[in-house]
Amino acid sequence: MIGAVLRRLGQTVLVLFGISVLVFLVFFATPGADPTARIAGRNASPETVAAIRHQYGFDRPLPIQYLHLMDRLFITRDLASYVDHGEKVVPEVARAAPVTLSLVGGAAVIWVTVSILIGTIAAAARGSVLDRALMMAGLVGISIPVFWLGEVANLITQSRFHTSWMFSWVPPLGYVPLQDGLWAWASHLIIPWCTLAVLFIGLYGRVLRADLVAASGEDFMRTARAKGLSETRVMLFHGLRTSLITFVSLFGLDFAQLVGGGALLTEVVFGLGGVGRLTYQGLVNLDLPLIMATVMYSAVFVVVANAVVDLFYLLLDPRVRDGR
């Protein structure tokens, strides 16, 4: 057990190292990325530029610069942005993370619940009109671009029908932390949650249905029916329970990439200052500290999410537990 944890920690460090080196090198290989001019401003004198170069250590060899950057990111945590008057990036990420986590976590609850419902109902009603309708709806959900959906949702709930009884409760765009009250937090996020969830509901619903249909031909499903169990019980305790194994691995990957910043479009449309927006901001400004901080955060999340998925695997599939 301890060995497994250590091994995973080692892997994490290795992954973080690899990614950070890559980001670092790509940054310095990018033409026009030299941060000195950016920090110094447009009309700085050559002396100022030289001074800044020395002050920030841009005149030192790359490995030293790399180590210095890492030191300030992970150890002293006072790494400052190259733009924005040198704002500290670690607190900035720490401020953005709960926003993204709230957004993605809520959406995940919705999409997991609804897609399990849809997938199971469609598989149970295989071949019927209901099945076809649900799967069509799923396909539509997958094909709708999330920013378009978000804009339409805003149009309806924020301006067009905002005064109607249905949407008068919708607060203005933006994020309110959970500490300010559960309802304040949730009401700001309900529309973004649903918007982000639509794509995944479609995707997961269809995948689950296909899995369940494939499982229904398995011998053990026939055994379960031969035992005299109800169709519902066969479906849930034998079919769905077995199909959840694929479902979980899919979920782990999607969840991690969204928490790591993949929900950018949703964040932008709904004015949520999350990690996705922060990453985007870093990239637009070619702001190495911010890029590095968000990328590291996202990488940590992917690794952690993978570990959690593996844990779920162990819980869900006894064959994995025995190392098979």
């Binding site: 031969a226 005299g228 169990l229």
Partner: protein, 336 residues
């Protein structure tokens, strides 16, 4: 319920499946057999002869879309075909239980064996969790599973094939069914385990008075286990009869050919076992006459019409030879 009715009476069972482009194919045609209390009947035939299909029809488990099942299947006088789902579910697992060919895939991989047996018990009996588990452990013990308490907590993949099949049988027997359908219960197992499982099935009849419909393609298994035998060929009954009579004097050339393919138990083994030349026709390409005619050494003009089952002695045979006075000769008695 009809007290005189046989435990299971299958009459003119015909199973029709859609074969694409609006056509249909009769997988099983006019199959009839019956089974009495505390009786083991063998249902034999080559692969594809419709044994599993017939068994699944009895269980009401044919769920292929567009399948049509005609004829009659009566269990203790009660018609099963067209019985509503709820009533059928109450029978399944409680009165009629089935064990399947491949114990590797027939148990759900993500639940412990004990959990799966508990589940069946609790589906039919008002048992507490602990009560069900106690019964499960008891059953596993009766089926010869060593250390049944621990075995109940194991997952299917952690058990050997033989133990898994014992667990399957324990599960099937958990609610004391009066009829057990065993679809090739030993095919996937090695020979010694096979013998143990067959022994177990024989003891079931003695100890619990269960009737067993034993599906197999192994005439050796039939000889050792079954009171009566029904031979299926390409979805049709070729011959019925008490096993010893059938083995002594098979009336259908197909039965005779099957018997010739058993390796002798004693004496020198022949270098090559005789096998029946050719293969059974696909259900869609069955000839209008006797389905065995294309492979039969005795085929003649009279075989162009489908023979009906005729009684000869204790047997019933779908062949014109006995009626023509050309019955097959008795065989050297096989000392099993």
């Amino acid at each position: 319920m009809d007290a005189d009715a046989p435990l299971l009476a299958v009459d003119n069972l015909t199973i029709t499946l859609p074969a694409g482009r609006g056509r249909t194919v009769d997988i099983v045609e006019n199959v009839s057999f019956r089974l009495d209390g505390a009786e083991i009947m063998g249902l034999v035939g080559e692969s594809g002869s419709g044994k599993s299909m017939s068994a699944l029809a009895i269980m009401g488990l044919i769920d292929a879309p567009g399948a049509r099942i005609a004829g009659s299947i009566r269990f203790r006088g009660r018609e099963l075909i067209g019985l509503d789902r709820r009533a059928l579910r109450a029978l399944r697992g409680a009165e009629i239980a089935m064990i399947f060919q491949d114990p590797m895939t027939a148990l759900t991989p993500v639940h412990t064996v004990g959990w799966q047996i508990d589940e069946q018990l609790r589906a039919h009996q008002p048992l507490s969790r602990a009560g069900a588990r106690a019964r499960t452990v008891e059953l596993l013990g009766e089926m010869g599973v060593p250390d049944p308490r621990r075995a109940a907590d194991r997952y299917p993949h952690q058990l050997s094939g033989g133990l898994r099949q014992r667990a399957m049988i324990a599960m099937a027997l958990s609610c004391n069914p009066s009829l057990l359908i065993a679809d090739e219960p030993t095919t996937a197992l090695d020979v010694t385990v096979q013998a143990q499982i067959l022994d177990l099935l024989r003891r079931l009849r003695q100890d619990f008075g269960s009737s067993i419909l034993l599906i197999t393609h192994d005439m050796g298994v039939v000889a050792e286990t079954c009171d009566r035998t029904t031979v299926l060929y390409s979805g049709n009954v070729a011959e019925h009869g008490p096993t010893d009579a059938l083995f002594r004097q098979p009336a259908h050339p197909y039965t005779a050919a099957l018997l010739d393919s058993i390796p002798p138990l004693r004496g020198t083994r022949p270098r090559r076992l005789p096998s029946i030349p050719g293969a059974p026709p696909a259900p869609s390409a069955r000839p209008p006459g006797c389905p065995f005619q294309p492979r039969c050494a005795y085929g003649h003009v009279a075989c162009e019409t489908r023979p009906s089952l005729l009684p000869i002695g204790a047997q019933q045979v779908a062949c014109v030879l006995p009626a023509e006075g050309r019955a097959l000769p008795p065989r050297a008695v096989l000392s099993a």
